[in-house]
């Protein structure tokens, strides 16, 4: 706890640039790539040269070049514009499907780890059952019941995705709760909620934050995969996975239709994976120094 407080003081004393300077190169790279994609998504309406859904039957399947940077698809739509607008859809979906389940997953896991007993046992059995099945299969089962579409993807991910976070937080909490500072707050007579949320949670959340960076990528891939299967975003929305699915039949003579959105997914994935990597180093070190 003392070490954490000291860290906080250092950050407060030093300017933002110093903080940036202490980042590892993979963290910097990842952040730059991700920032670029986020900016592209935010400013898509100003950057995109065309309406992403405007069909032009005089310009079908044009190869990459000018004026269509990434070429056009089978309906003459500008792929560059569609990829930009697609970033809005994929990043938003990725954000919600990652951080909403993380929020309650971590809290539940921390609580279970601290309390133990029947709550812990029941929660862990539920998680065991949920994790016994492949994630994608369960999602598809839920979507088959609810029907395809974005809201239902949210619902099915919210039902399932918290389990990993709960497990991580619980494991950390099992270690933390035996430490002196936890005993101290307990002896001081703090209420349980305060002990778990104010004192336990900041120390158990690190591994979940690291995991969330790669989970973010996996969730974008999940949505792209579901759209590819026709269970996700419905046409004509320019979701990256749906665009790849549309381009699949043209891969032999119009490779750009599937490849360009594929690159977008790749870039996002690399950016977030680098961030995850960098965070793992940083938070990992910090975490271990407190032990």
């Amino acid at each position: 706890m003392a070490a954490v407080a000291e860290e906080r003081q250092t950050t407060r004393r030093n300017p933002l640039l110093r903080e940036l300077g202490s980042w590892s190169s993979s963290l910097k790279c990842g952040a730059a790539i991700t920032l670029l994609i986020v900016l592209a998504a935010v400013f898509a309406p100003w950057i995109a040269p065309y309406d992403p859904n405007a069909q032009d039957f005089e310009a079908l399947l044009m190869p990459p070049g000018w004026p269509h940077l990434f070429g056009t698809d089978s309906l003459g739509r500008d792929i560059f514009s569609r990829v930009l607008y697609g970033a809005r859809i994929d990043l938003v979906i990725g954000f919600f499907t990652t951080y909403v389940p993380m929020t309650y997953g971590v809290v539940l896991g921390a609580y279970a780890g601290y309390k133990g007993g029947w709550f812990d046992a029941v929660l862990m059995r539920i998680i065991d059952v949920a994790m016994a099945f492949p994630f994608l299969v369960l999602i598809i089962v839920i979507l088959a019941i609810l029907g395809p579409g974005i809201q239902n993807i949210y619902i099915s991910v919210f039902i399932l995705a918290w389990t990993m976070y709960a497990r991580l937080a619980r494991a950390e909490m099992l270690v933390e709760r035996t430490k002196d500072y936890m005993t101290a707050v307990k002896v001081l007579g703090f209420p349980q909620r305060r002990i778990i949320l104010r004192h336990g949670l900041p120390n158990v959340i690190n591994s979940s934050i690291v995991f969330s960076a790669s989970d973010f990528v996996l969730n974008i891939l999940l949505v792209s995969g579901l759209s590819f299967l026709g269970l996700g975003v419905q046409p004509p929305l320019p979701e990256w996975g749906a665009m790849i699915a549309e381009g699949r039949d043209f891969i032999r003579d119009a490779w750009w239709m599937a490849t360009m959105p594929g690159f977008a997914i790749l870039a996002t994935g690399v950016g977030l994976a680098l961030i995850g990597d960098g965070l793992a180093q940083r938070l990992g070190e910090r975490h271990h120094t407190t032990v």
Binding site: F57, L229, G230
Partner: protein, 515 residues
């Protein structure tokens, strides 16, 4: 009673002789032997002829089992198969079919009248999938050891076409009754091929039936091939690649955007054959907003068929002027509904559309139909409608259509026979079992005209009646027809005599390999 019978057989023989002449190879250049590998996008579900309605099963069954009468080498006409000849009474109420002598099943047992009666009773069962086609039949009876009599409740002009259905195939009674489930895996029929092995989801291997009765041009029994492997390859790029590198001799259903690159491949030919298929948007007349004819007309006016022909079909096909495929009595006199956004806008306004989004349903993974839906969506939105495209896997989508839980559905229909009656009755007769093929279309005049056409024997008269039905139903905006789509397949040049016939399948018995 029997004295005034009409002889139909002569006319049929004539038509097959003319049709067959152009594609028959001469005796010298036919080679025997070899294995033909065909890549198909459809999976075979069963070999039991009485139940299936999926083309994956039907086209295989046609290679293995035979009905009394069968589609000829082009698919447009009929020719005698297990029935050598037949006669009809003048009142059209009694038909006598003479079975071909000496025909044996693939297991060596001779074909009997009992087998034929058993099989026909199974297909004519009103509860069976194709029972409706035999609605007019009163009884199947044995006259003698080689003659089968069909007695009718009323005259029925399409009996011969109905008998040519795959579902009317003649099976071995003893083997079917022993174990119907096993029969579905390894049928005992009289066709050119029999099943050697069947791996569901992978492939079907067919080998010649040693007892087959048809003779090749070299005077020996058909088929020419030693073996046929029908592989299930749902991924279109894999089919094309396999054709290119020689894994497959034939790739069925070439994606149209790749048709030209297939044509340009060395040693490969592209087949474009006329079909009995129509791609169209099903409209549900039983639900808002398509219960209003003005709305149905509006979506027709707002369908940019030129763009669809270009972006979806790459120029293959023909813009339709009918609600059903181009079967024998198709009329060219019906004028097409033009593309006219202004008219569509006016109709939408007149109908008082309330702005509730219209759900346009598409099968998951069907890229051409999804593209077509996206083009339709743009046109319909320009006309002032709100349109959402929703995707369901084809099974779910079809069962939703069956239950009438849809508004519009991009799909297609194919005819298994050359006569208009099958599809005209299914699609346009509101009193039938499928609610006019899930459209809930009802028009008393059409029902009356169809009943009339079913009973009239005269061809010209029937053509006139079906032309009238086509005009009325099409202009009632029954559906949004998109394209008379031809069959587009690729095959290696060593495959000879390969033809997809209008009803959809291929006579593998006539195919040979030039090695």
């Amino acid at each position: 009673m029997l004295d005034k019978r009409r002889l139909i057989f002569a006319a049929l023989v004539l038509s097959t002789a003319l049709g067959g002449a152009s594609i028959a190879a001469s005796a010298e250049d036919v080679k025997r032997g070899g294995t033909l590998t065909v890549a198909r996008p459809e999976e075979a579900l069963t070999f039991e002829p009485f139940t299936p309605s999926d083309n994956g099963s039907i086209y295989n069954i046609m290679q293995i089992c035979e009905p009394l009468i069968v589609a000829d080498a082009t698919g447009k006409g009929l020719e005698p198969s297990l029935a050598e000849s037949w006669t009809a009474s003048a009142d059209g109420l009694t038909y006598d079919f003479k079975l071909r002598p000496g025909v044996r099943f693939s297991n060596g047992k001779p074909l009997t009248v009992e087998d034929a009666i058993f099989s026909l009773q199974k297909v004519a069962d009103p509860k069976a999938s194709f029972g409706f086609a035999f609605d007019a039949v009163k009884a199947f009876d044995k006259v003698d050891d080689s003659t089968l009599r069909i007695t009718m409740k009323r005259p029925y002009a399409t009996l011969e076409s109905a008998l040519s259905l795959f579902a009317a195939s003649i099976v071995s009674k003893a083997d079917y009754e022993k174990d119907p489930a096993a029969f579905g895996q390894k049928p005992v029929c009289t066709g050119a091929f029999q099943v050697e092995s069947y791996e569901r989801g992978t492939q079907v291997v067919l080998v010649p039936n040693p007892n087959y009765w048809r003779k090749g041009v070299d005077g020996k029994p058909l088929p020419y091939l030693d073996k046929v492997v029908l592989k299930y390859v749902p991924e279109s790029n894999s089919r094309v690649l396999g054709l290119q590198n020689g894994d497959f001799d034939v790739a069925l259903v070439v994606p149209l955007n790749q048709a030209n690159s297939v044509k340009a491949m060395d040693g490969v030919s592209l087949e474009v054959s006329p079909s009995y298929r129509l791609d169209y948007v099903f409209l549900n007349h039983g639900k808002k907003p398509f219960d209003d004819k003005r709305m149905r007309m509006a979506v027709n006016y707002a369908a940019n068929r030129d763009a669809i022909m270009k972006a979806v079909y790459f120029g293959f096909g023909e813009q339709p002027n009918s609600y059903m495929p181009k079967v024998n009595f198709w009329s060219d006199k019906v004028a097409k509904i033009p593309y006219d956004i202004e008219k569509a806008k006016a109709l939408v306004k007149e109908a008082g559309y309330d702005g509730t989004p219209i759900q346009l349903m598409v099968d998951t993974g069907n890229a051409p139909f999804r593209t077509a839906a996206t083009i339709l969506q743009q046109g319909w939105q320009q006309a002032g409608l709100k349109v959402e495209i929703v995707e369901y896997d084809s099974g779910t989508a079809f069962s939703m259509a069956q239950k009438g839980e849809y508004q519009a559905y991009v799909s297609y229909i194919t005819s298994d026979i050359n006569d208009d009656d099958e599809l005209a009755s299914i699609q346009a007769d509101g009193t039938g079992p499928t609610a006019a093929f899930f459209s809930n279309y009802k028009n008393e005049e059409v029902t009356k005209l169809l009943a009339q056409a079913r009973e009239v024997g005269d061809k010209a008269k029937r053509a006139e009646l079906y032309g009238k039905v086509q005009d009325i139903v099409y202009n009632d905006a029954y559906s949004v027809p998109l394209n008379f789509l031809p069959y587009v397949n690729g095959y290696n040049n060593k495959v000879k005599n390969w033809h997809t016939i209008t009803v959809g399948w291929w006579w593998l018995r006539d195919v040979w390999l030039d090695k």
